[in-house]
C-alpha cells in the first residue's frame, strides 16, 4: 500500500536519517532527504523541510555531529555524520524494529491462516 506521508512517525524518520548517515557517510540536509526518497522508492515523500526537526533532535542527543562545509554547487552547507553513540543507538533501534517486525509478521500470518 502506498504509505501516506503523514503516517510516517517522526521517530521512524529519525531512524531513517541515522541509517542513511551510517551507510552513506557525511551528508548535508538535502542529500539526506534525497537519499531517503530514493531508497524508499519514493514511497516516502515528505516535505523535505521536516528532516531538520529530526536532525536537530539527533544532534541534541549527540547521535550525529555537524560541521560546516561547501556543497557541490559551491554553497555553504552543514554536513552531518553519525557518531559512535549514534551507531550504538542505531544498532539498538534496528534490533528493536526487527523484533517487532518479526512478531507482527507471525501475528499477521496467523490471521491469513485464518
Amino acid at each position: 500500500m502506498a504509505a501516506d506521508n503523514s503516517d510516517i512517525l517522526q521517530g521512524t524518520l529519525d531512524l531513517m536519517v541515522l541509517q542513511t548517515l551510517d551507510s552513506m557517510g557525511t551528508l548535508h540536509g538535502y542529500g539526506i532527504a534525497r537519499r531517503i526518497e530514493q531508497i524508499s522508492e519514493d514511497a516516502v515523500r515528505l516535505n523535505q523541510g521536516t528532516i531538520y526537526a529530526s536532525l536537530l533532535r539527533l544532534h541534541q542527543q549527540r547521535w550525529i555531529a555537524a560541521e560546516w562545509g561547501v556543497s557541490e554547487n559551491n554553497r555553504k552547507a552543514k554536513f552531518y555524520s553519525i557518531t559512535r553513540a549514534g551507531k550504538k543507538q542505531l544498532a539498538a533501534e534496528a534490533a528493536n524494529w526487527e523484533r517487532v517486525a518479526g512478531v507482527m509478521s507471525r501475528m499477521l500470518a496467523l490471521r491469513e491462516e485464518g
Binding site: 548535508h28 540536509g29 538535502y30 532527504a33 534525497r34 516535505n47 523535505q48 523541510g49 521536516t50 531538520y52 526537526a53 536537530l56 533532535r57 544532534h59 541534541q60 542527543q61 549527540r62 556543497s71 557541490e72 554547487n73 554553497r75 555553504k76 552547507a77 552543514k78
Partner: protein
Amino acid sequence: MNRLSVFASRIAAVFSRRRLDQEFDQEVEAHLAMLAADNERRGMSPQDARDAARRSFGAVAQIKEEQRERRGVPQIDTLFQDLRYGFRNLLRTPTFTLIAILTLALGIGVNTTLFTTFNAIALKPLPVRDAGEVRRVERWFESGAQGDIQFAFSYPEYVYLRDHSRELTTLIAMSWPFRAFAALNQGDTEQLRGQLVSEEYFRDFGVAPVLGRTFLPEEHKTPGTNPSIVLSYPFWKRRFLADPRILGASLKLNGTTFNIVGVAPQEFTGTGEPPITPDFWAPLMMQAALVAGQNWMDQPAIQRLQILARPKPHGDIRTAEAETATLVQQIDQTLFVQTGFSPTGRVGVTSVRERTVAITLPHATYFGNTEDIRFRVFVLVLMLVVGMVLAIACANLANMLLARAASRQREIGVRLAMGAGRGRLIRQLLTESTLLALVGGAAGLLFSVWAGKLLWALIQHALQGPMGGGAPLTVSLDPDFRVFAYALAISLITGFAFGLAPALRASKLDLTSALKEEGVSFGARMSRSRLRSLLVGSQVAASMILLIAAGLLVRGLVRVPGVDPGFETHSTFWLFFDAGPDPAKGAALQRRVIERLETLPEVAHAAIAGTVPYAGTWTPPIKTLDPQAETLRTLGARVGAGYFETLGIPLERGRGFTPLEIQNATPVAVISANAARQLWPNQEPVGRRLKLDLNFRNQWKEFEVIGVARSVRSAHLSRVDPMMVYVPVDPNVPEHTVLRITGDPQNAQARVRAAMQSIDPGLMAGLALVSTADGPMQLEQVLAEAYTTFAAALAGLALLLASAGIYGVMSYLVSQRVRDIGVMMALGADAGRVLRSVLRQGLWPVLIGSAIGLAGGAAVSILLHSMLSFPGNADLLFGVNTLDPVTFLGLPCLFALIAFGASAIPVRRALKVDPMIALRYDG
C-alpha cells in the same frame, strides 16, 4: 544522560540565538537552492523550479519557527524578547519613563529607608558566632515595671543561673558601659567607656582578635587577679593610631594598672543594649578596681549585668524560659532571706519588694525590647504610612500606564488581530511595567542608602547632647542582603500592582474601533474612565489625609519654641551620681551632698526629687474620700522639702513639705491647681483628704492636702499636666538631686563638681550634671521636631505625587478630547465652555476624593485627641484644636488650587492649538 545533554544544548542555544538563527537560514537557503537546481535539471524554468522547491520543502517560515522553538528554551526566549521590546518601548517615551522611574524611586526609596533602619535596629544579628541563637535574658516584674531594668541582673543571680541551668548551655554576663578614667602618657587623663564581661565572652562569641589575644578563662577565676583588658578597634585606631606595639603595654585605669592583651577586630562592634562600642573590655573579676566603691560579686542589690545565653540545641525555648524563671525566683528568695535585699523595678531602690514573675528569652539584637509588641506596632504604623505613599505612587503610575496603553491602541489592536494571544500580550505589558519597577527600585535603593545615612546622622546629632549620650551609636545602615531582598520584593510587587490593571484593560480591546483608532469619542467608554477616576480619587483622598495629619502636627510644632513649661528650666540642674548599693548609706550620702552644696553661693536651692521632668511618668490611681467618687488617674511625683522653691513652681495656696514631714513620711500631699479644680471644684482644697493607690495593687493610702501648686508642664512639653499630685519622697532611699543655680552656669557647674570631688573623689566617675533645658527637655523637643518633620516631608511627597497624578490624568483627558475641542472651536464654541466641560469631567473625582480625605483627616485628628484622656500621654498635637479651622479649611483650599492649576495647564495648552490641527489630531 541524554536528557542532560539535550537540556544543556537547549540552554546553550538561548545564548547564541541570533547566530543559530542565521546559520539555519543559510542551511535552508542552501537546501532550497539545491532543490531548485534539481528541478531545473529536470527541465523546469528557473522561476518554476524555485516555486516547486519551496513547495516540496514545506512552509519555510513555519519550519524556521518550529526549529527555533525546539532548539532553545522558548519561555526564556520570549522573556528576553519581551524585555528587549519593553526596553525599546520605554526608551521611545523618555519623559514618561523618567517621571515613572523618579516616582518609583521616591516611593520605593522611602519604604526601603524605613526598612533599613528597622533592619539595623531589630533584625541585624550581633557580630558573633551563630548570632541567630543568642538570646538576651529578660525578666518581668510583678509591678509591671518596664524598660532597661528588665535586662538587669546581679552577679549572684548570674552565677546561680550559670551553674544550675540545664536548658541554657552558655551564659555570658556583660555589664552596661561604665566610665573609667585612664591615665595616658603625657600626664593627661581621659574618660573612657568600658564594659565588664565574663571570661568566656570573646571565646564563646567566636571573636578572633586582630592583635594579640582575648581573655583566657583560666586566668580570671578569682577576683582582682590578672588585670588585663582588650581594646576595641575604633579606640585602638583613634587613640593609639593602630600601633601594633600597644600589645603588652599597660594602661592605668582608675588608678589600677591594666595590661593590654589584645585588640578586637573591626567588625566586632559589641553586643548591644545600648548599641555602643566601648573603648575597652575588662574581665568581670576586675570589677572592684574599675567601678569604685562597689562590690558586685556578693551584692544582690546591684543589678548591673545583662545576661546573654545560648539555649541547648533542639530545646524548646519555652521550657528554657520557664526553667530560668524558676531559678531566678529561687535565688532571689535565698538572697532575700540571707541579706534582706531583692531585685527591684527601680534602679538602686529597694523600698518595694519585687518578684520576678516571668522570664522571656528574646533574640539578642543591638537594641533591647525590639520584640516588644509596642515597638512592633509603632514600626507597623510607620510602615503603613510609608506604604500609603508608595500606594499613591502606584496609583499614579497605573494612571500613566493606562493613558499610555490607550495611546498604543493601534499597535495592540494589530497584534491581537495577527493572532497574539491575550495572555502573551498581558505578559509583555507586565514585563514592561516590572522592568520599570525594577529600575525604579534600584534607583530607590540608592536613594535609601543616601537618605538613611542622612537620617541617621540627624538622629545621632540630635541625641548627642542630652542625658549623657556621647558615644556614637554603632548601628550600621549599610544595606545587607535583607535590604536588597526587601527592595527587590517591593519593586516586583509594585510593578505588578500598577501594571496589572492597565495590562488587563489594554488587552480587552474592541478590535474594530482600536484599529480604526477613533479614540475615546463622544460616547466615552465608561469602564476605563471609571477606573481612572477611582485611581485619582483615591490618590487625592490618601494625600489629603496625610496632608491634614501633617498640617496639624506642623501647626502644633510651631508652638513649641514659645511654650513656657511653667517652671525654671535653664537654671535648674539635675545632679546624677552613684550613691552606692546600700540605700540607707546612699540616702545619708545624698543628704550630705545637699547640705554641702547648699553652702555654695552659686547654689540657691537644692532638693531631692523622685522624678525628673520629661523623663517618664508615674500615674497612680486617685480618688476622693467620697464613697461614690470614681477612680481617676493622676500624674504623680515624689519630691522632697524645698522642691517647689528649687524648681520655681509657685504655691498658690498652702505650703510645701517640711524636712520633718519628709523624715517621718507623713501622709501629706501637694496637688496642682488643675487637680484641685477637678477634685473639689470651687471648694477649698487645703485640708481635704484624698486616696492614692501608690503601687497599683489596690492598696489605698490616705493623704491630706497641704498645698496647691500652679499647674505646669512637667510630664510632657506638649500639654499642661492635667492632674498632678506631689507626695513626700522616701527618706531612706537615695533619689535624684536638683539644684537651682544662680550666676554663671559654667562657673557654677565647676564649683559643684569641685564640691563633689571634695566629698568623695570616687563619685566623680559616675557624675553627671545637666540642666533641665539641655537635658530631658531638649530630648522631647528634638523628638517632636524630628517626627513632625518626617510627617511634613511625607505629606509634601504625597502632595507632589497626587498633583503629578492629576496633571497626568487631565493631560490625557484633554488629549482624548482634542478632536472634540477642535470641532467645538471650529463651530464657534466659546473657549470657556470647552474648558469648563473638560475640567468638570476631570475634577469630579478630585472633589469626591477631597471630601473623603477631609473626613479621614478629621477621624485621625479625633483619634489623636482621644489619646489625651490618659494623663500620662503626650499631646501629639500640642494643643491644636481637633477641627482646627486653619488646617481643615486652609489645606483643602491649597489642594484645590493645586488641582486646578494641574488641570488648567493641559487645557490651556490644548486651547491654544489651531482647530485645524486639532481636527486632524491622530492621538
